[in-house]
Amino acid sequence: MQDNKGYLDMQMLRFTTAGSVDDGKSTLIGRLLYDSKSIFEDQLEAVEEASRSRGNEEVNLALLTDGLRAEREQGITIDVAYRYFATPKRKFIIADTPGHVQYTRNMVTGASTADLAVILVDARHGIMEQTIRHSFIASLLGIREVVVAVNKMDLVDFSEEVFTTIVSDYRKMEQEMGFSLENVTFIPISAKDGDNVVNRSERMPWYSGPSLLEYLETVPIPAGSDAGTLLPVQYVIRPISAQFPDFRSYAGQLCAGTLKPGDRVTVLPSGLTTEVTAIWLGDKQIPEAVAPLSVAVTLKDDIDISRGDVLTASDEMQPGIGQEFTVDVCWLRDTPLETGRRYLVRHAAQEVTGIVKAIEYKIDINTQERIGNVESLRMNDIARVRIKTAEPLVYTPYERNRVMGSLVFIDESNDTVGAGMIKNA
């Protein structure tokens, strides 16, 4: 069956969207899902019925994504919702998040796993505070691909001038704010009527680029790593069985690079070196592991390796090992971050005690202004802090690798209270 084979070759793109109902975000997602046949009849019927019973005249597609009772009752998106759709070319995961400043932490969460961000701009209003906010979060979370979808083009007579003004305003803003977005693509759309969402619009002949979906289907998916070869060890597999009396493999998800049998590897933090004898995926040996495969490797020498250690290719770029870090944090909970307090820091497969030594500055996420003399951080605050850990961490700067550059703070209530991105060079 040809269709099956095609499906087996598909790639996966994870993207994030932020915004409120007014931006047309739900309409856009609804259209992507509906036009790719990912909304089913019974789901649509349920939403139509729910819209009617709430007295909405039009079908409210937000009801599809707002999954919790509280969200439906209040008519707002509170939490991150994950939506799925596929075309014959790619599978997509959307992390759909609310857009207001009081939900910064949800936007940060949605962006943390995304390869790409779709930022919606209302053609009538141009660049607004929330455009800056969403761009900043994409930049902070290391998203290298951004699509600025200029929506509601139908309400500005599909004007090329309006579109080009927004493009140049955005470029100017991006530069002024100092965002590090690698690639920004602008697409004029009308989510309501479907112009340039799935099919190219005939009403904007001056635009010769791809539709949003065409773009999402073809954009190269950034590997998001520039850090040599890294395998954080999660688990040691030791069957101790009659059939495999001495077998011992080190299991983990390769988060950067490639690994082959015969490669020299260095174990960090110990610095001991050995050689890969085989790479296992289930009961099969594979000739090469490529990030982000989850594999198990067997090694030539019997050296002490346990969860939290990191295997690296000896002849490639090495990660850092340290106890003092400069970290960009987003605070996630009501209990404030306080300097001098101890937290449990989870980073890759490591878990250590950490202390926040100082808050260098807080960032106003709408203006990028740096605010000094801050003693504590509240929920949704973003700041640059300095931390010290009780044990050394094997790390890379976040911009080189997300897995080895990210961490979370856990407090004595067991809750995850903060998210951090390592900035150390």
Binding site: M1, D3, N4, Y7, L8, M10, Q11, M12, F40, E41, D42, Q43, A50, T65, G67, L68, A70, R72, I78, D79, V80, A81, Y82, Y84, A86, K91, V108, T109, S112, T113, I221, P222, S225, Q234, Y235, I237, P239, I240, S241, A251, Q253, W280, G282, D283, V290, P292, L293, S294, A296, L332, L344, R346, R402, S406, L407, V408, I410, N414, T416, A419
Partner: protein
């Protein structure tokens, strides 16, 4: 540099990573095994994650007593092949002990009662994590649930105050008496599951393929007349049809699909063409708009 893996490889890698985190972070984790395709895929992934060691999770089956016999045969063969340990939590026992009261009437189902049996079984086995095959595309309350999902000491889920979950960092910290539900295939769709089964050549229970069965129709759905667990109204006529299960649960709430799918390729083609979600055939979800959220809060799967 750009990514090169296929989406199935990437999904598999993510799920194996999560299963290994469970093994590393919990003391007594188990897999909730229903005999349905999602828990079969989950068990296959666990086998792959820890080979050549045995799966470090006990399989737990919550048995409503209303089974398709094919499910139990498949379960027992799988357990034997993997050398896994099996715990069965029996809803019938919960009824006999007076822990739950059986629903009566034509739409009676033991589906809701399972929650009590499940929580009792987890407590008796001192399980601190129960790994489930739920997927976020199945239902809108599930679309919001974390991969490591905390349960308080009453086994309840608090959807409004879930722990933040970023990147691939999973926090399993908890107090005594609390536990977690973990969903390693959260990001898979029904189509991904079948394509993966096809790619991996996983053997499936015969119920998923079209077979001749005595059935009857209720509210536009085909239900099994055999095994005879559902009380029929006098006007509900039993006929023989070619059907298959799109999901497998308790007989009383498993809708059957008229189908000609005799192979995995046929099933994949059928799903590609279909316009109804798989849970559309589940009587348990059709009870109200928030049916799933309400059951999950109480401790359901």
């Amino acid at each position: 540099m750009s990514k090169t893996l296929t989406h199935l490889k990437e999904l598999e890698a993510e799920s194996i990573f999560i299963l290994r985190e469970v093994a590393a972070q919990f003391e007594r984790p188990c897999i909730l095994f229903s005999g349905g395709k999602d828990s079969i895929v989950l068990t296959h992934l666990a086998w792959k994650a820890f080979w050549p060691a045995k799966i470090p999770f006990r399989l737990v089956h919550i048995d409503t007593g209303h089974n398709f016999p094919e499910t139990l045969t498949y379960r027992d063969e799988l357990v034997a092949r993997l050398g896994a340990d099996l715990t069965v939590g029996s809803v019938q026992e919960s009824i006999d002990k007076g822990r739950v009261r059986e629903e009566t009437g034509y739409n009676a189902s033991r589906n809701k009662l399972q929650t009590v049996t499940l929580l009792d079984t987890l407590a008796a086995g001192k399980f601190d994590a129960a790994i489930g095959g739920a997927r976020r595309d199945e239902e809108k309350a599930r679309a919001k649930e974390r991969i490591f999902s905390h349960r308080d000491e009453f086994g309840q889920w608090n959807p409004k105050n879930q722990r933040p979950e970023l990147w691939n960092i999973y926090n399993a910290k908890k107090d005594v008496g609390e536990h977690f539900r973990v969903f390693p295939i959260s990001n898979w769709t029904e189509m991904d599951v079948w394509q993966y089964i096809y790619q991996e050549g996983i053997e499936m229970p015969s119920l998923y393929f079209t077979h001749r069965r005595k059935v009857f129709q209720r509210d536009g759905q085909w239900l099994a007349a055999e095994p005879a667990f559902i009380p029929r109204r006098p006007e509900e006529e039993v006929v023989e049809m070619d059907v298959r299960c799109r999901t497998i649960g308790d007989v009383t709430c498993t809708g059957l699909t008229l189908s000609r799918a005799h192979s995995l390729e046929d099933i994949i083609a059928e799903i590609a063409a279909t316009r109804i979600t798989e849970r559309g055939g589940r009587a348990d979800d059709r009870r109200s708009e928030s049916a799933m959220e309400d059951r999950k809060k109480q401790g359901y799967f």
